[in-house]
C-alpha cells in the first residue's frame, strides 16, 4: 500500500516507537525510585530497631533508661483510639451516606452538604484537634481521655468513610432496588436487605483507608492533650493515654542513641499494627464479597 511505503511514515513510526519505549522506561524508573526509597527506609528501620523489638519492649512502659523503655501504653492507646474512631465513623458514615444517596432529594441543600463533606476531608487535621478539645474535652467534659481522642479521630476520618460509602451505595445497580420495590419492599427493606450487603465491601475499603489515617495522625491528639509520658495502660474510656506516633516522636527528639533505637522499633510495631488492621479489614471485605456458591 502506498501509505506504508511512504518514507515519512517509516520515519514517524520509528520515532513513535522510540517515544513509547522512552515513556515505558520513565515509568519503570519512577516505580524503581519509589521502591528503592521504601527498601532503604525499611532497611534502615530494621537495622536500627529490630534488635529492640521483643516481648519486653511491647509489654513494657516508658522509662528514663532507653534500654528499658517499652511501648505498651502507646500501643494500647493507639488500638483503643483507632477502634473507637472506626466504630463511630462507620456508624455515622454509613448512616450519612445512606441518607444522602437514598433519602435526600437532589437539591441545592444536598449539594451544599456534599461539597462540604468533600471539603472536610481536606481540612488540616490540627483543626479537628481544636474541635475535639472544645467539644469532647471541654463541653462534654470527657477530659483528655482516650474516649475523647477516639471520638476526635472518628470525626477526622468520618468524611473518608462517608465518601467511600456513598460511592459503594451508588454503585449498587438501580435494577436491584427496583426488583425489591416491585415486590412491595419499603425503602428501608431494600436498603437493609440488598443495598447495604452489596455495598459493604466498598464501605470496608473506606474503613481500611480511615484506619490507616487514624493510626498515623498525631497533631489532633497533641492539641487535645494526649500525654507523652504514660507509665500505665489505659484502664477505661476516661483514662489518659498516648499513642504510638506521639511516643515515637518523643523518643526521636531525645539525644540518647538508645531512644533512637527504641523509636525505630516503635515504628516497626506501628507498621505491623497497620498491616494487621488492614489485613483484618481486607479479610472481612473478601468474606462479604464472596457470592453464594455457584
Amino acid at each position: 500500500m502506498a501509505i506504508i511505503a511512504h518514507p515519512d511514515f517509516k520515519r514517524h513510526m520509528a520515532r513513535r516507537q522510540w517515544q513509547g519505549r522512552a515513556f515505558h522506561a520513565l515509568c519503570l524508573m519512577a516505580v524503581g525510585v519509589a521502591l528503592a526509597m521504601l527498601v532503604l527506609l525499611l532497611g534502615y528501620l530494621i537495622q536500627q530497631g529490630v534488635s529492640r523489638v521483643s516481648w519486653d519492649f511491647i509489654n513494657g512502659f516508658p522509662s528514663r533508661n532507653p534500654d528499658e523503655a517499652g511501648i505498651k501504653a502507646a500501643l494500647l492507646g493507639s488500638i483503643y483510639v483507632v477502634l473507637i474512631a472506626a466504630v463511630v465513623a462507620f456508624t455515622l458514615g454509613v448512616g450519612a451516606a445512606v441518607y444522602l444517596e437514598e433519602y435526600a432529594s437532589r437539591n441545592w441543600r444536598t449539594r451544599l452538604v456534599q461539597i462540604n463533606i468533600a471539603n472536610l476531608a481536606g481540612v488540616p487535621s490540627i483543626v479537628y484537634g481544636i474541635l475535639g478539645l472544645e467539644i469532647f474535652v471541654r463541653s462534654l467534659g470527657l477530659g483528655r481521655s482516650v474516649l475523647a481522642g477516639g471520638l476526635t479521630m472518628g470525626l477526622l476520618v468520618l468524611p473518608i468513610i462517608i465518601i467511600a460509602a456513598q460511592e459503594a451505595v451508588r454503585a449498587v445497580p438501580r435494577s436491584v432496588r427496583e426488583g425489591a420495590y416491585a415486590l412491595g419492599a419499603t425503602r428501608w427493606q431494600a436498603i437493609w436487605h440488598l443495598v447495604l450487603p452489596q455495598a459493604l465491601p466498598g464501605i470496608l475499603t473506606g474503613v481500611i483507608l480511615a484506619v490507616s489515617r487514624a493510626l498515623g495522625e498525631t497533631a489532633p491528639l497533641i492539641v487535645m492533650g494526649a500525654l507523652t509520658f504514660v507509665p500505665f495502660a489505659p484502664d477505661g474510656p476516661f483514662s489518659r493515654f498516648t499513642v504510638l506516633p506521639i511516643q515515637i516522636f518523643n523518643w526521636i527528639s531525645r539525644p540518647q542513641a538508645g531512644f533512637h533505637q527504641a523509636a525505630a522499633a516503635g515504628i516497626i510495631v506501628l507498621l505491623i499494627l497497620l498491616l494487621a488492621m488492614n489485613a483484618g479489614a481486607i479479610l472481612l471485605r473478601n468474606k462479604f464479597q464472596r457470592r453464594p456458591e455457584a
Partner: protein, 257 residues
C-alpha cells in the same frame, strides 16, 4: 363486591417527567385473566404507562400524573394508598433479568419474607418455581447463586420471584428483549399458562410476540410533543388483521417504528 371484568383501568392518564410529557390522556381497560399487550415505537411511553400500574414511577424524581388509575375499581393514586401495598398485589418483571445476588431460594423467598409471610417457605418457593417452569432445572441447586443461571432461567426466576407474593396482576416490560429465541418461546408458553390465573400486561417491541401471546393489543404512539397517545385498542386478532387506524396499520406492517 361485584368484580368488574376489568382489573385495571386508566382514565385520562397523562404522565410528566419534569416538564416533559411522556404519555397523554390514555384511557385503557385491562381485562381480568387475559394478556394485554402494549406496542408502539420506542420512546412512546409504553414503560411509563406500565409503571403507573404499580406506581413504580413514584420513584422517579419530578414525575407526576394527572388522571386516574383504577385497580379493582379503586383509585391507586388516592392519598391513603400505600404504594408498597399495591406492589405486592401487582408484580413486575423487568426488561433485563434482575435477580438479586443471592441464592435461587433466597430470590424467591425475598418477597414473602419482607411481606411478613408466615407459613411453609420451602413449599411456597417450590410452588413458585414450578409455576414459573423452572423447578425441574434448579431443584438440585436451589442454594446456588441465581447469577449462575442463564439469561432465560434468570428471567423465569424473576417471574417465580414475582409469583411468590401471590399477586393478581403481572406487569412485564419487554421481558424477552435480552433473551434468545428458545428462551423467548419458553417465556411465552409460560405467559399463556399463567394467564389462566393472572391478569398480565406485557410491553413488547416485538409485534410477532404481541400477536402470538396476547388477547388484547394497545397501540401507543407519540403525537406532536405531548407524549404517547392511545391510537388503537382492540382484540389482538382484529388489530393485526384489520386495524381501524391507518397509523396502526403502518406500524404493524413495518412502515415506521
Amino acid at each position: 363486591m361485584q368484580l368488574s371484568e376489568h382489573i385495571l383501568q386508566t382514565r385520562g392518564l397523562s404522565v410528566y417527567y419534569g416538564t416533559k410529557q411522556a404519555i397523554n390522556d390514555v384511557t385503557l381497560n385491562v381485562a381480568r385473566n387475559r394478556i394485554t399487550a402494549i406496542i408502539g415505537p420506542s420512546g412512546c411511553g409504553k414503560s411509563t404507562l406500565l409503571r403507573c400500574f404499580n406506581r413504580m414511577n413514584d420513584l422517579v424524581p419530578r414525575s407526576r400524573i394527572t388522571g386516574q388509575v383504577l385497580f379493582e375499581g379503586q383509585d391507586l393514586y388516592a392519598p391513603d394508598v400505600d404504594p408498597t401495598e399495591i406492589r405486592y398485589q401487582i408484580g413486575m418483571v423487568f426488561q433485563r433479568p434482575n435477580p438479586f445476588p443471592k441464592s435461587i431460594f433466597e430470590n424467591v423467598a425475598f418477597g414473602p419474607k419482607i411481606n411478613g409471610f408466615r407459613g411453609n417457605l420451602n413449599e411456597l418457593v417450590e410452588k413458585s418455581l414450578v409455576r414459573a417452569a423452572l423447578w425441574e432445572e434448579v431443584k438440585d441447586r436451589v442454594n446456588a447463586s441465581a447469577l449462575a443461571l442463564s439469561g432465560g432461567q434468570q428471567q423465569r426466576l424473576c417471574i417465580a420471584r414475582a409469583l411468590a407474593v401471590e399477586p393478581r396482576v403481572i406487569l412485564m416490560d419487554e421481558p424477552c428483549s435480552s433473551l434468545d429465541p428458545i428462551a423467548t418461546l419458553a417465556i411465552e408458553d409460560l405467559m399463556r399458562e399463567l394467564s389462566q390465573e393472572y391478569s398480565i400486561v406485557i410491553v413488547t417491541h416485538n409485534m410477532q410476540q404481541a400477536a402470538r401471546v396476547s388477547d388484547y393489543t394497545t397501540f401507543l404512539m407519540n403525537v406532536e410533543n405531548r407524549g404517547g397517545q392511545l391510537v388503537e385498542f382492540g382484540d389482538t386478532r382484529q388489530i393485526f388483521t384489520n386495524p381501524k387506524d391507518e397509523r396502526t396499520e403502518a406500524y404493524i406492517t413495518g412502515r415506521f417504528g
